[in-house]
Symmetry: C2
Subunit: 391 residues, 2 copies
């Protein structure tokens, strides 16, 4: 969408980056999951940008959303046509300045982008897990990230940052390992999915499971449930935009036609856009991983899991300084949800800054170039560094 | 949803009603469609309530939405467990008073509830049309209704009323046959679908067409695309509600469980609700009809079809008195869309009343019991009758 809005200079990239892997819980050791299930070995794919300083206190951990990966910035190879998914934010002199900070981004547990998930080999069968993969929670994702931090010798994180499901991970980190987190920036996020958010996820899952190629999750040897996954992704894309952004981006403009087709072709540009997004997604993402990660998002409920239903009680465990950012047109995790976490944090006397950014671009706005957002994040991290490290 | 809001007494029903059929364009005669296609014979299913007076000037025509039918009020048989879809509004002493008015409701062209549509027998093959059925527009639906009015000997309609796609039909009537319409009540409606509304319809259509049982529309002899149609309906149901109504109706309440299933069962009540709505729908509706009717809705654009892109010009043809009603939480056809038609009508000096009803129930609100809505409609129709007929 970047062609539609004025955006920052892309600036300098971090250059070539290498995807690394960390494996723990090798047999007979196993990770005990929140469901009671066990998992091992566990591999976490990650990338790092910038340099860890001698005091190991300049660490920024980026948490990605549903379909993200560890490749947040830079290029994977000389031929790589596109930089990582948040290259506008992460790099020399950018919002998350890789000249100053040691930035880590890891792929979440349960994904299909290098970390252990349903596409991984089940050591008990030698085949991909499929639905034998245990259900993982946001808490489990954080436990795996904690293991990675331990492996990297990082005891304190200067800043956690992430949007959407990444923001939910940020919040979970802050109450699960409060002593490790100096500051936290959840963007376009929530302490728990609304019924509406669950509803969209559930319909997307039903679209996948309705595809006969899904075959109860056993499709790795045969045809994949591409049609179902494409529909699921199309549903997702609607929720990432907004009435206003779709009006600006597409309106009722027709696709390569001066008149209607009078059949079921894609007449409108918005139809072509969605079809394109759906078919592109199936080339890079796994249907089972989509099921597992959306379910983890729906299960996430910081208030009931950490505060007996009270956000105030849940955040009583937190120690971090917070920058909460919401976007006016985000109807997936609307501003009222951010406001309610801000309120609960303030009742605990936490240091909280809150900003609602005026943006027509819906939930997706957190991923789009915004000088305002970059400056907010940059300023906040500098303040935390000044107050917590250089004091 | 009626258990959640205070509602009117159901009141007296119109009692037993009979579905009737009117067939026109018998071979070799054919209906010429807006696409240029031809169709014949054409059957329209309809019901009537109340009595046509001697002057034939007490006619109210009800236009139904996407999945509606001609059975708006009363009972089809002694065993019928449920009255028609708008029984709360249509009956003796109700908002549309069958003691005063002769009320007609017909099933739209392209549907599967008795009127000619893709499930009907193609006279050229002796088999159901499937995708050989020509694409019909909202204008074609109105032409078929006009033929029914002619058949019933009705030259002037006291009041047209309908919500959603029914409201779009109301608007089309007013500019297509302005001399026939004394008053018009579009509820929760629009002069044209936004990109967001088109997007939801398109994803629903894709869900149907992704089902291998859909088989390019040829499924009448074999298994039906029930899974695809169920997903399509689930998407629809999300758009009929609202963030707030889903929070009130479901929140994060679990379904028959004290804890998560940690699998892909329906954990949350909202998931069960959607699955139930999806599976219930496939028993009563046809997947191809869903495709045709949603496409007609997407094509509808009163401004470009009747005003060269100008709503003011389009409504310059209208003669009716209008009562426009929108609902605060309707995000499918939000209030701003109603306001813009009100503005265009007023610029033409038309007699327009506008009411935005405070309702948490989203787009569906127009179908729910509301004393306010009933009284509004009742009062408006009485005024029109007084001013236009009894003058």
């Amino acid at each position: 969408m970047s062609e539609y809005i004025e955006h920052d200079q892309q600036g300098v990239s971090v250059g070539l980056v290498e995807k690394k892997f960390f494996t723990f819980c090798e047999p007979p050791d196993e990770m005990i999951l929140e469901s009671g299930g066990k998992l091992g070995p566990v591999t976490i794919a990650y990338e790092t940008y910038g340099k860890l300083n001698d005091d190991r206190n300049n660490v920024i951990l980026i948490l990605h959303a549903l379909s993200g990966d560890s490749h947040a910035a830079g290029y994977s190879s000389e031929e790589d046509p596109k930089p990582g998914w948040w290259d506008i934010m992460v790099g020399p002199g950018k919002g998350i300045d890789t000249e100053k900070y040691f930035v880590v981004c890891s792929n979440i547990l349960g994904s299909c982008m290098g970390s252990t998930g349903p596409t991984s080999k089940n050591p008990h069968t030698g085949k991909p897990y499929g639905l034998d993969f245990p259900l993982v929670t946001v808490g489990d994702m954080i436990d795996a990230q904690k293991a990675l931090m331990d492996h990297l010798g990082i005891k304190r994180i200067l800043g956690l940052i992430g949007g959407s499901l990444g923001g939910m991970q940020v919040l979970e980190w802050c109450v699960r390992y409060p002593e490790m987190v100096l500051s936290a920036i959840p963007l376009a996020s929530t302490t728990k999915h609304s019924a509406l958010a669950i509803a969209f996820n559930e319909v997307a899952r039903q679209a996948i499971m309705a595809d006969p190629n899904w075959n109860n999750g056993n499709y790795y040897a045969g045809p994949k449930p591409d049609l179902g996954l494409a529909v699921a992704r199309m549903i997702g894309h609607i929720t990432y935009l907004s009435d206003e952004s779709m009006r600006l981006k597409f309106g009722r403009r027709l696709q390569d036609k001066s008149d209607f087709s009078f059949n079921f072709d894609a007449d409108f540009q918005v139809e072509s856009y969605l079809r394109h997004q759906g078919s592109k997604f199936v080339d890079r993402f796994d249907a089972n991983a989509f099921l597992y990660i959306t379910k983890a998002g729906d299960y996430f409920d910081l208030e009931s899991q950490h505060g007996d239903g009270s956000a105030v009680k849940a955040f009583s465990k937190a120690r971090a300084k917070f920058l909460i950012v919401s976007f006016t047109s985000d109807w997936l995790y609307p501003t009222y949800q951010s406001r309610s976490m801000v309120k609960a944090m303030k009742k605990n006397g936490l240091d909280v800054s809150f900003c609602e950014i005026q943006a027509d671009w819906g939930h997706d706005a957190f991923l789009l170039p915004s000088k305002r957002l970059s400056n907010l994040i940059k300023g906040f991290l500098e303040r935390v560094y000044r107050e917590e490290i250089k004091q």
